[in-house]
Amino acid sequence: MFLKLVNLTKMFDEENGVKNINIDVNEGEFVTILGPSGCGKTTTLNLIGGFLKADSGQILLEGEDMKDLPPEKRPVSTVFQSYALFPHMNVVENVSYGIRFYRKEKKKKALKIAMEYINIVGLSGYEKYKVGNLSGGQQQRVALARSMATNPKILLLDEPLSNLDASLRVKMREELKDLQNKLNITMIFVTHDQSEALSLSDKIVVMNKGNIMQIGSPSEVYFSPTNEYVASFIGKSNLIEISGDRFLVRPEDIKFRPNSEGKYTIKHKIFMGQYTEYIVSDGEKNIEVNLSGKENASFLIGSKIDLEIAHKTQLRVI
C-alpha cells in the first residue's frame, strides 16, 4: 500500500472533526473524497498535508509514519481551494518557490525547472504575469504547476475546481485527468460535486459528518451504495419497496410505456435539455423518472403511463 490512513482522528470539539478515518491509496491512483460541506474533507487533507496535528492514528506513506513531520518535510503537496497563490510573485516565481525550498535547487536552476512545469500546464508566455491578473482557470493551473513542481509523492487537491465557471470547470476537469494519466501522480481530490467525483476517480471515499460512509469505485458507489446516505447523496434515487425488500431505483433506469389505462400519471415535468425530468404518481407515491433525448421530451402532464424498471439495487439494512 502506498498511502495508508489508519484510524486517523482529529476532533475540534465534541461534534466537529473527523473520526477513525481509514483509507488506502495505491500508487498512481486518483482518489476522491466526496461529501457535503462541513463533513471533514478539508480536515482530512490538512492532516495528510501536515497543517493539522492528528489526535490519534497513523499516516503511513510507503510504510513510514509521517504523522510527526512538519508540512515542509512531507513529500506531499496541496492545491488549495482558493489556490493560495503568492500575490506578490509572478507566475514563474510562484512555481519555482517549492523547487527552491523543497527541492533545494539554486534560484536559477529552479526558474528553469519551473518553466517546464509552466509549459506542462499550458501557460507558456505567462511566466512574468502577476498572478492577480490571471483568470480563475489560469490561476488554477499555476497552483497545479506549483504543487507538481515539488515532485510530490502525492498531490492533494481541495476543491480546486469549485471557484470556476460551469463550463471552465468541465474543461479543467478533463485537463486534470489528462495530466494525471500522463504523469501518473497519485492524487487525492476533495469535492462536494458528485459528477466531478464520478467522472474523475478511480476510487471514491464518501464522507458524512466526520465519518466514512463508503469507499468504492464510481460505479460501485453509484450502483451499489451500501446505505441510504450514499444512495441519496450520489445521484437521484427512488426508494421502492417490493414485498418487504427496499430497492434503489435510479430515475434514468426507468422507462415509460404509454398506456391510457396505465397505473401512473405524469404530475410534473421539467425540461433539462439533455433529459427531461418527470414526476409520476400512482396516487400514493411520487417517482422521479429522467428520460433523455428529444424524443422523450414530449410526454404531457396528465398522461397515463406504465413504468418499466430497467435496473434496481437492493439496499442492505445497516
Binding site: 513531520l69 515542509e72 503537496s77 500575490p87 518557490y97 517549492g98 525550498f101 527541492r103 504543487s147 515539488t150
Partner: protein, 554 residues
C-alpha cells in the same frame, strides 16, 4: 532505503535549526515587549506606591480631592466634546469623499495624509499667529482683539487635530461596505438620507466607535495643546506634566497618570471587540467599484458636507501657510515685516539635532514596523496562547501620556544591568516601542484580507516557518510596512512628551529644541523648525513610498 534515512536525518537537523530561529524571533519579540513596554510602565506606576523605598498610598489618598475631581471632570468634558466633534466632522468629510468622483477622492485622501504630518504645538502656534490678540486674521484683517486662550481653543485644536486620522479610518470603513447593500437599500425604497441613516452608519458603526474612543484617549492624554492654548484652563495630562515640572513629585504625577488608564483600557477592549466583528462582514463579494453607481445626496446635505470639507482644508492651508509665513516674518503689534532673521537663529546650530531626529525616526520606524508585524503574526496567524495579552501590552504606550512612558524609561533603566539613561539607545528604544501598536493594528487589518492558506502553501512547498516569514509574510505586508513606517517616522520626528526626559546634551533631537523654543515663546525660530520638520517628514515619506513601491502590489 538508505538514502531515505539520510534524508530523514538531514530533515531532523534542519527542523531543529529552523525552529530555533523561529523560537528565537518569537522570544525576542515577547521579551522586548515586556522589557521595553510593560516593565517601564509598571516601574513608573510603582513610583506612585513607593516613597523612598517604602510602600505608601499617600499619593492616592487625596487623589480624588475636589481640585482633582474638577480636573477630571474638565478633562473628560473637553476630551469628550473634542472627540465627538472631530468624529462628526470626520464622518462628514468621509461621506463627502465617499460619494465624490475618483479623482477628488484621491486628492482628499492625499491631503488628509499630508495634514497628518504636523509637529505638535504647530496647530497651537498657528492658532495664536492667526487668531491671537495680534493674530494676522483677527487683528490685522478684522481689527479684532480676541483672546484665544481657554477650553474653546483646546476643543477647536483637538477637534481639528483628530480629523485627518479619523477621516482616513472612516473613509476606508465606508469603502469596505458592500456596495450592494447600499444598492439594496435604495432598491427597497430608502432614499439617500434614509440609506445613510439605516445602512451606512450602522455598517461603519464599529469604526465610528473606534474612532471616537481612539480620539478620546488621545485627547485625554494630549498635553501639548492645553499647555499652550489652554490659558488658565487645566487638564489632567497638563497637570501631570506640571506636577512633574513644578514639584518634581513623580509619585503624585504617576498617580495622576493612573487616572488616565481606565479609559485607555476600555477603548482597547472596545477595539478588540470590533476587530472580531469586522471579520464577518463583507464576505464573498466581488469588489465592486461604486464609480458608476450614482449616489446623489440631497442638495442641502451636499452643501453642508462640501462646506465642512472645504472649511477644513482651508484651515489646514491656513495652518501651514501661517507657519511658513511666521518663519519668514515678524508680526509685531499688527505690523507684518519680512525677515530672514529666524533662519539665521536656527541656521546651523541645530543641524545635528535634525540629523539625529532623522536617524532615530528611521530606525524606530523600521524596527517598530518589523516588531509590530511579527507581533500581529504570532497573535493572529499562529494564534499562540497568551499573545493577546502581549498585544494589549503593546497598546499601552499609545494610550497613556507620552511623558509618563518616558518617565518609565528613566525610572526603569537607571541601574545596572539596565543602565541606559543618557544613551542614544534609550531614546531610540522609547520611540520604537511607543509606536508598535500602529504597525500591529495596521497588520491586523491587512491579515484579515490575506488568505491564511498562503502560509500553509509556503510550508507545503518546503519553506520553514522562518522562511515563510521572510519570503511570504513580510513581502505581502509591504504596504502595511510602508504605512506603519510613515506613521512611526512622522510621530518620532515630532514627538516630545515621551522623550523630553530621555534626551541628554549628547542626543538632542529637533522636536525637543522646537518645543523649548515654543515654551520660551520664540515663535519665529519655532516656525522655522516646524517648517523644516514638515519638509523633512514629507521628503522621507516620499522616499519611503518610492523605495517600498507599494503601488505596484496586487
Amino acid at each position: 532505503m538508505k538514502n531515505n534515512t539520510m534524508d530523514k536525518e538531514r530533515a531532523n537537523f534542519a527542523l531543529s535549526f529552523d525552529s530555533i530561529i523561529d523560537q528565537l524571533i518569537f522570544w525576542i519579540v515577547i521579551i522586548s515587549l515586556l522589557l521595553f513596554i510593560l516593565y517601564p510602565v509598571v516601574m513608573v506606576i510603582s513610583t506612585s506606591f513607593f516613597h523612598r523605598g517604602t510602600f505608601t498610598l499617600d499619593n492616592y489618598k487625596n487623589l480624588l480631592n475636589p481640585d482633582n475631581l474638577k480636573l477630571i471632570k474638565d478633562s473628560l468634558f473637553v476630551a469628550g466634546i473634542s472627540s465627538i466633534l472631530s468624529t462628526i466632522f470626520s464622518f462628514c468629510i468621509a461621506l463627502f469623499t465617499f460619494v465624490e468622483r475618483k479623482e477628488i477622492k484621491k486628492i482628499i485622501y492625499r491631503a488628509l495624509m499630508l495634514s497628518m504630518i504636523s509637529p505638535p504645538f504647530v496647530s497651537s502656534l498657528a492658532l495664536i499667529i492667526l487668531f491671537g490678540r495680534r493674530g494676522i486674521i483677527t487683528h490685522n484683517l478684522l481689527g479684532l482683539s480676541v483672546n484665544p486662550y481657554g477650553w474653546q481653543g483646546i476643543v477647536l485644536l483637538q477637534t481639528l487635530g483628530g480629523i485627518p486620522l479619523s477621516s482616513i479610518m472612516l473613509i476606508s470603513a465606508l469603502h469596505s461596505i458592500d456596495t450592494r447593500q447600499i444598492l439594496a437599500s435604495r432598491d427597497l425604497g430608502a432614499i439617500t438620507t434614509q440609506t445613510i441613516r439605516n445602512i451606512v452608519i450602522p455598517s461603519i458603526f464599529p469604526t465610528i466607535l473606534s474612532v471616537l474612543f481612539l480620539s478620546f484617549t488621545m485627547n485625554l492624554a494630549d498635553f501639548g495643546t492645553p499647555i499652550i492654548i489652554g490659558g488658565k484652563f487645566k487638564m489632567l495630562a497638563t497637570e501631570t506634566y506640571m506636577t512633574i515640572f513644578s514639584s518634581g513629585d513623580l509619585g503624585k504625577a504617576a498617580a495622576m497618570s493612573v487616572l488616565l488608564i481606565p479609559p485607555a483600557i476600555l477603548s482597547f477592549i472596545f477595539y478588540r471587540k470590533n476587530m472580531t466583528s469586522v471579520d464577518n462582514r463583507a464576505t464573498g463579494t466581488k469588489a465592486l467599484g461604486n464609480e458608476n453607481y450614482d449616489f446623489q445626496l440631497p442638495i442641502w446635505l451636499k452643501f453642508v458636507l462640501t462646506f465642512i470639507t472645504v472649511s477644513f482644508f482651508i484651515i489646514v492651508v491656513l495652518k501651514y501657510g501661517s507657519i511658513i509665513l511666521s518663519a519668514f516674518s515678524i508680526n509685531t503689534s499688527g505690523k507684518l515685516t519680512f525677515t530672514l532673521k529666524h533662519f539665521e537663529e536656527v541656521k546651523f546650530a541645530y543641524t545635528p539635532a535634525f540629523l539625529r531626529s532623522i536617524i532615530f525616526a528611521v530606525i524606530a520606524g523600521f524596527v517598530s514596523s518589523v516588531i509590530g508585524v511579527l507581533l500581529s503574526y504570532y497573535t493572529h496567524r499562529r494564534k499562540i496562547k497568551g499573545m493577546s495579552f502581549i498585544e494589549f501590552v503593546s497598546a499601552l504606550p499609545y494610550i497613556i501620556p507620552g511623558i509618563f512612558f518616558g518617565l518609565g524609561y528613566i525610572v526603569g533603566f537607571n541601574k545596572e544591568p539596565l543602565l541606559l539613561t543618557g544613551t542614544t539607545t534609550i531614546v531610540i528604544l522609547n520611540s520604537t516601542f511607543r509606536h508598535i501598536s500602529v504597525a500591529n493594528k495596521a497588520t491586523n487589518a491587512a491579515f484579515t484580507t490575506i488568505d491564511t492558506r498562503i502560509e500553509d502553501a509556503s510550508r507545503d512547498l518546503g519553506a520553514s516557518k522562518f522562511k515563510t516569514i521572510t519570503n511570504i509574510i513580510f513581502p505581502l505586508l509591504r504596504p502595511v510596512f510602508l504605512t506603519s513606517f510613515i506613521n512611526t517616522f512622522t510621530a518620532c520626528m515630532t514627538t516630545v512628551g515621551a522623550i523630553i526626559f530621555l534626551v541628554s546634551p549628547k542626543n538632542v533631537v529637533a522636536s525637543i529644541v522646537m518645543f523649548k523654543s515654543i515654551t520660551n515663546g520664540q515663535y519665529g525660530p519655532a516656525s522655522v523648525m516646524a517648517s523644516i520638520l514638515i519638509l523633512i517628514t514629507v521628503s522621507v515619506n516620499l522616499i519611503a513610498i518610492k523605495l517600498l513601491n507599494a503601488k505596484e502590489m496586487y
